[in-house]
């Protein structure tokens, strides 16, 4: 009795000591973040590197042996409320940090899949996420795990205990704000955007001190709003976005102009720029706001030190189709004509893929990555769309009754590509783009702004463009604009992509399959049914000499909520909430 009790205590204290030793050796540093794309034993950034290439230099897993990939554990998020799981996990020192629907975060032993801790934010009932209660991931810094909640707060948790270190309100959820994107950490600053473009919010990018939660700067993404930096507790004006109100907006419309920064951003250390995309202008009814409506549907290069806008590139000026410009801008070296250009590429909701010079935002080239675009004939030499006649839904003021002329537009408002991130492989020099082929009927209606209410002034319904497939995973060549290969999927693709030096491309499908493809040919090499739809983004890392791959699974996101006639394809997909982890066992790696 005596000895047993003592023995137990001894074992427990020894374990506690061992844990605290390994903890002291750990903690994510600025260097860890900057080098994430090159280090294989951890994944500490959303995007597997701040530039967002989602490329791993690991080649243990290859086209030869990926068939031998084996599931090693599955971890359930639990709870009755499941919904879409769009999170990308992070891994550091053998611990996985992953967020889930309803603003939950988990720390999991990456070897065994056992839970270390769980944090459930207590959310008010009045949260207003437009497009499902998702979260896309956490940020790691020092001993903290930081994420954004559906009631628009940032929460920093202790990485070992899951206890709250600080909490900070970023914006008013009752006005329609929320946070769904993973924050990023750049030069010791925590950078976040906000969601809420369907509620007439004003988009912004903000920097916080990751150690304390104190705000450092704020940059509104709608022309006319003042930016600020905070020094020694003082709020100092730092210039109006766009110089002055009213240049590209009529009247007071800029005051509720949308341009939500809801997908977060990437960072390029070579040009020291944050790249954030901005969402649709509000309201959707474009006849209420003639003008380019800056900086909606744009990519912004932002100075991480004070939030100043260095340059902008607007993909859809005067958007009338909900073509948000939030999609991630991925930095890469464009090698052509014997030169290496500091370029960046993005696949837009509007169906065009853009290659920009990331030093100054100059347009290099743009090309469709979907089969059909109805709203524009093409792009001019500056990358500005050449609108088709009658491609825009009609002005309700021109018609009897409330509803303007209905037009059929392609892509649908859910986009040629939506939030799900692309990947770039420097070996194949190709981008891998998860895209969808669908159109919509769209019409405009009168609308006026009311706090916390949907601010659309539009109606719509989505239709698949083909009978037998909607989703298309494409390999796009940024030099030629040509599609090199494609994989067609019955349901719309809604999960992110990863590529590796093993000449592989990974992604998941709403049907529940985790898949691997040959990066050069698009040949499908592996699939595994995870039991629920995949709308998450895979990662890979090395542990104990073996290559691991993980993905969150759990059907949901915007498609089942907004997909219109797509419902007939997806209605039988069941919800879930699981992290699946696979590995290539050591003895299956061919000796090289």
């Amino acid at each position: 009795m005596y000895a047993t009790r003592f023995g137990k205590q001894f074992a427990a204290s020894a374990l506690a000591l061992a844990v605290s030793w390994s903890v002291q050796a750990a903690g994510v540093t600025d260097d860890d973040l900057l080098n994430d794309q090159d280090t294989v034993d951890d994944v500490v950034t959303y995007g597997m590197g701040l530039q967002g290439q989602r490329y791993s230099p690991m080649n243990d897993l290859s086209t030869e042996n990926v068939k031998q990939l084996q599931p090693v554990w599955a971890f359930s998020f639990g709870g009755e409320k499941q919904r879409g799981q769009e999170s990308q996990p992070l891994v550091k020192d053998g611990v996985m940090y992953v967020s889930a629907s309803y603003s939950r975060v988990y720390a999991i032993d990456a070897k065994t899949g056992e839970e270390i801790w769980q944090y459930d934010a207590r959310l008010p009932d009045g949260i207003m996420p437009c497009c499902d209660v998702v979260n896309r991931g956490v940020a790691l810094y020092g001993d903290k795990v930081i994420f954004g909640t559906l009631d628009a707060k940032l929460v920093a948790l202790n990485k070992d205990t899951g206890k709250v270190v600080w909490i900070k309100k970023v914006a008013d959820y009752q006005a329609g704000y929320s946070i769904t994107a993973a924050p990023i950490i750049v030069k010791g600053k925590l950078i976040t955007g906000v969601s809420g473009g369907e509620f007439g919010i004003v988009g912004k990018v903000e920097a916080y001190d990751p150690n304390t939660g104190e705000i450092l700067w704020t940059r509104p993404t709608v022309e006319g709003h003042m930016g600020y930096v905070y020094k020694d507790g003082k709020k100092i004006e730092n210039g109006i976005s766009g110089g002055a109100p009213g240049k590209t907006w009529p009247g007071d419309m800029w005051k509720n102009g949308g341009a939500a920064t809801w997908l977060g951003g990437t960072y390029d250390p070579e040009t020291d720029s944050l790249f954030f995309g901005t969402g649709n202008p509000a309201p959707w009814n474009s006849h209420l706001r003639p003008g380019d409506n800056l900086f909606s549907s744009s990519r912004l290069a932002i100075d991480p030190d004070d939030g100043s806008i260095k340059w902008h590139f607007q993909t859809t000026p005067h958007d009338g189709w909900d073509y948000d410009g939030v999609n991630e801008l991925v930095s890469f070296d464009l090698k052509e004509n014997g030169k290496t250009i500091k370029a960046a590429a993005t696949a837009d909701r509007n169906g065009f893929m853009y290659v920009l010079n990331r030093e100054n935002g100059d347009f290099i080239r743009g090309f469709p990555f979907v089969d059909k675009i109805t709203w524009a004939k093409g792009l001019d030499e500056n990358g500005r769309p050449i609108y088709t006649d009658n491609g825009r839904p009609g002005d309700p003021a021109d018609m009897k009754g409330e509803k303007g002329k209905v037009v059929v537009a392609q892509p649908a408002f859910l986009g040629g590509k939506n939030w799900m991130p692309i990947a770039y492989n420097p070996n194949t020099e190709l981008f891998y783009v998860p895209s969808n082929e669908w159109s919509m009927d769209i019409w405009n209606e009168p609308v006026s702004y009311k706090k916390g209410a949907a601010y659309l002034g539009a109606g719509f319904t989505i239709k698949p463009a083909h009978d037998n497939y909607i989703g298309v995973l494409r390999a796009m060549d940024p030099k030629t604009g040509k599609e090199v290969w494609r994989y067609e999927n019955t349901a719309p693709l809604w999960g992110g992509v990863m590529t590796t030096a093993g000449n592989l491309v990974f992604t998941g499908t709403p049907e529940g399959y985790f898949k691997a493809f040959d990066a050069k040919t698009g040949k499908e090499l592996y699939k595994f049914n995870t039991g629920t739809g995949i709308v998450g983004t895979p990662i890979t890392w090395k542990m104990g000499g073996e290559q691991y791959v993980s993905i969150t699974t759990g059907w949901g996101g915007a498609v089942p909520l907004w997909g219109g006639e797509v419902a007939k394809v997806v209605k039988d997909f069941n919800q879930g909430g699981t992290v699946w982890t696979f590995k290539l066992p050591n003895d299956n790696v061919a000796s090289r």
């Binding site: 020894a14 934010a121 207590r122 009045g126 929460v155 709250v164 270190v165």
Partner: protein, 256 residues
């Protein structure tokens, strides 16, 4: 590490365990909870000066008032720990005072009829334990909070009322805060409760709070705290923090 362990084992073998006194209420959890909260080597005595007041029967199992009256305990106190023997998480609160605290009162949840304990550690390290028994229909720990069925709960969340009263030259502090205090034991309602409370001397340059309290899941929704602090300064601040990181603050004292 190993050497240290062996030494410790030797020490234990030579002195043996301090035996706990017999529980006047005969609770099956007596030894277990004493060991869990006070340690297996704790020196424990029963002491009538640790006076617990609870209603004989809990009308509302989710709101049972407990008063720990230490006005008869006239020697300095290091620490006070309270627990509810038969609750799923028995611990209610622990506090460390830097000033004399004669009364602490707080509502708690009760899962079934149970004994309630308060252990007061004196300067020599000895624990003085007082007990009381509350009869109850039960279920208070696993019933959903009222706030969890109110879609507008956040509108009142964190509202805090408090004031100092001085009956018969004592400083009596009452603080009430609107908080669901969800225990985490109700399906699909995550734990959401106040973990820490501090009473801080705002005028004096004292670093340590006058009182530092940690709370567990047994504390009731919308907690009402009462403290009697005979030697309290004229002005002080009550500060609380919940497990979601929300902070609540209230200035108390003459200047108001």
């Amino acid at each position: 590490m190993l050497r240290h362990a062996l030494l410790l084992a030797g020490a234990l073998a030579s002195t043996g365990l301090a035996a706990y006194p017999k529980d006047p209420y005969g609770s099956p959890m007596w030894d277990y909870n004493l060991e869990r909260y006070l340690g297996e080597k704790a020196e424990v005595v029963l002491d009538d000066r640790v006076n617990l007041e609870v209603p004989p029967f809990a009308e509302d199992s989710s709101q049972v008032p407990l008063t720990v009256d230490l006005s008869g305990f006239d020697t300095p106190v290091q620490k006070v720990i309270t627990w509810v023997d038969l609750n799923p998480i028995p611990h209610l609160f622990t506090y460390v005072p830097q000033t004399r605290v004669t009364v602490v009162s707080l509502n708690f949840r009760v899962q079934q009829a149970t004994t309630v304990r308060a252990a007061v550690q004196d300067e020599s390290g000895v624990w003085h334990v007082g007990s009381a028994h509350v009869d109850a229909a039960g279920g208070g720990c696993t019933a959903p909070s009222q706030a969890s069925s109110d879609p507008n709960w956040e509108e009142h969340f964190g509202q805090i009322r408090g004031g100092a009263f001085s009956p018969a030259n004592q400083s009596r502090l009452k603080v009430y805060v609107r908080h669901p205090m969800d225990s985490g034991m109700v399906g699909n309602i995550p734990a959401f409760h106040i973990e820490t409370l501090e009473i801080r001397d705002t005028a004096g340059g004292q670093d340590e709070p006058l009182l530092k309290m940690t709370l567990s899941e047994s504390a009731a929704e919308n907690p009402m705290f009462v403290f009697e602090l005979p030697d309290a300064p004229p002005q002080y601040e009550v500060w609380m923090r919940d497990n979601n990181g929300n902070q609540f603050q209230r200035q108390v004292g003459e200047a108001l």
